[in-house]
């Protein structure tokens, strides 16, 4: 989200889900939308039904690519290049929104000079997208009355992830496609409460509602609310914690409902890191790979056994309601944390219900201050919603950006951290698929989902398969500099030549044994979406 914060001043989906239906052009990149956000795909296809152009730019031609009006396959990690290319065409053809650019943004001249180098022919070389297609996409998006951009992890999980997002923001601003209905730059959140985890300050640099820990005034506010002294320096990200644990500089960790042993890149490194800790607590619903390494395992509950709120990808705060009693002696996670806080000798941790906790959240979080349990019984409220009579905010940045003027950033294309070479001549990209979710903790324990896809697989392009004599369902070896796994081949044109895809949900054949932990320098997101591998018959 760092990219959107830099460009606009706020890092969430700019528009709301229903608005897609009225867009005239929707540009989707790095999102396998029908499989991973089906109900958003629904709105996009409804827009298409009404005449909107759907453009998909993705290294994998997934279902949404098949359904698109224009599909282009870019080389892995070449996003800044083709985005600069689009902007170049749009500026030189005079299709940009002069009024918006001069009134609401800064940095246009620099951007114009920067993108001038990215001619369609040069783009074709770097990204593999034909020059003619670049022009066609530029025209469709720039000339649309309302153009929406949709992206997901395919854009962010690169060392240039922040650059990619800022480039998307550039494209939207240059064409005036932000701050009004059915436009915007819209990151789709993969898990049901990613938005909420960010909003509530489960980040090393901010308290709730993106209030910076380094800001003395804001910190003083929280000190007063909690009655404790607080630290004013930014904390460690998950990747930094893992590295520090690995180097013996972190003594303990508390992991709530996450399974870094499957979700983090370079799993072998993660295992060493976690084993190196003096003390590891894992709170989860199943004995995950991470829980097995713990000193203490605390049984939390599923969503079905707890009350609370969840914030979806378009900033709507919704209720989760307790349907059944906790299984066995398990306890809802909020209750475990409240009890632990009390045991650690803190007086203001005695909450009786999630609503108790939520009232405290409202009091310290301006963007949530007007969203109460009571109101969301009857209303759909998107944050920011600062007061009890505020209607909530469907789309952000109307009239002015959170940061004032929108920042057009001049950015150069950089290669992915690891390019193919003689030893590892192919490229791996990873992701999710329809039938499973994240590390499979829930879906692999759901018979109907397990039945659809029981084990890991690797997608191989037919030409590559033919060259190596690989046949459908054959178990093959995939190796990177970090490790080696085996998986069954699925031969398909979804992936291009020289590229293989592996979903990351499975312990056996775990894609993240192979992935590269190289980080985006700003967002600290690892480059899951590209690394060099070799693929061999066993």
């Amino acid at each position: 989200m760092a990219g959107l914060v830099a460009s606009f001043g706020s890092g969430a989906m700019t528009n709301s889900i229903d608005e897609f239906e009225d867009a005239d052009c929707i540009l989707i990149t790095g999102s396998n939308t029908t499989e991973n956000h089906p109900l958003i795909a629904n709105r996009i296809l409804r827009a298409q039904e009404k005449g909107a152009k759907v453009i998909v730019i993705d290294p994998r031609k997934t279902q949404i690519g098949d359904l698109a009006d224009i599909y282009a396959r870019q080389n892995l990690g070449s996003d800044v290049a083709w985005l600069n290319g689009l902007i170049n065409v749009i500026i030189s053809e005079g299709w940009y929104d002069k009024e918006f650019v001069s009134g609401r943004t800064e940095g246009f001249e620099e951007l114009k000079a920067k993108v001038a180098d990215y001619t369609p022919d040069k783009i074709e070389q770097i990204s593999g997208i034909p020059a003619a297609t670049i022009k066609q996409i530029a025209e469709a998006y720039a000339k649309a009355e309302n153009g929406s951009i949709v992206y997901c992890m395919g854009i962010t999980q690169h060392i240039s992830g922040t650059d990619n997002v800022m480039s998307l923001a550039n494209l939207a601003m240059v064409t005036g496609n932000v701050g009004k209905r059915s436009t915007g730059v819209n990151p789709l959140r993969g898990q049901n409460n990613v938005q909420g985890a960010c909003d509530l300050g489960a980040l090393p640099n901010v308290f709730t509602g993106y209030q910076a820990v380094i800001n003395d005034e804001l910190r003083a506010k929280f000190e007063k609310a909690w009655g404790v002294k607080l630290d004013g320096k930014v904390g460690q990200t998950i990747m930094e914690m893992m590295n520090n644990a690995h180097d013996g500089k972190l003594a303990g960790m508390y992991v709530m409902a996450e399974n870094p042993m499957l979700s983090d890149p370079d799993i072998n490194h993660v295992r060493e890191a976690l084993e190196n800790l003096d003390f590891l607590v894992v709170q989860d619903i199943f004995m995950t790979e991470t829980a097995q390494l713990a000193d203490v395992v605390l049984p939390g509950t599923t969503y079905a056994e707890k009350d609370g709120t969840i914030t979806n990808t378009d900033r709507t705060v919704q209720r989760c309601r307790k349907a059944i009693e906790p299984i066995g002696d398990s306890k809802p996670d909020w209750e475990i944390l409240a009890l632990l806080g009390q045991k650690m000798g803190i007086s203001n941790f005695d909450y009786n219900s999630p609503e108790d906790v939520y009232k405290e959240i409202m009091a310290v979080t301006p963007i949530y201050a007007g969203i109460s349990y009571e109101r969301i019984e009857n209303e759909t409220l998107h944050w920011p919603c600062p007061t009890a009579d505020h209607p909530g905010t469907l789309f952000l940045h109307s009239g002015t950006f959170s940061r004032g003027l929108g920042a057009l950033k001049s950015i150069d294309y950089r290669e992915p951290a690891e390019m193919p070479d003689n030893d590892y001549p192919m490229q791996l990209t990873t992701g999710r698929m329809m039938f499973h979710f994240h590390t499979g903790t829930m879906t692999r324990n759901s018979p109907a989902l397990h039945k659809e896809v029981k084990e890991s697989y690797v997608e191989v392009n037919p030409s590559d398969a033919k060259e190596q004599g690989i046949v459908e369902d054959e178990k093959i070896s995939i190796a990177s500099r970090r490790g080696q796994i085996e998986a069954k081949a699925r031969i398909t044109n979804k992936v291009g030549r020289g590229v293989v895809f592996i979903p990351f949900h499975f312990v056996e054949g775990a894609a993240n044994v192979l992935t590269n932990p190289a980080l985006d320098p700003v967002a600290k997101i690892p480059e899951y979406k590209v690394c060099a591998v070799k693929v061999e018959k066993i």
Binding site: K229, E258, V297, L340
Partner: protein, 135 residues
Amino acid sequence: MNCDFVLTTCPYCGCGCNFYLQVIDGKAVGVVPCKTHPVSKGTLCIKGWNAHQFVHDEKRLTKPLIKKSGRFEEVSWDEALDYTAKRMLEIKEKTGPDSFGFLSSAKCTNEENYLLMKLSRGVMGTNNVDHCARL
């Protein structure tokens, strides 16, 4: 016999579909899409339709566990939480707040994320709190 329909939010992707968990005598037996919900409008994907299935899985953790000489042993909540609190405070004392880290979860509620964040910052005294969503 009791048969209830409890409106809740899907635990999977960020679309935020709502559905009813059908509960018969305390057991979640099925999912009924909510027809009046603004996002899902009576539809769901395959994950939402089957969101009740893992809830009663027999592999669910039901007791707090402490690893004693390499093996997990079932303990009471009091013992587990006392021990956890003691070890955490020891680390804070010995190597400082920043030698401890918290991983929160995009699968938990807002309230739970808030409490973990507060535990990290307000109780342990460290800003080392993050979640796996950047991943």
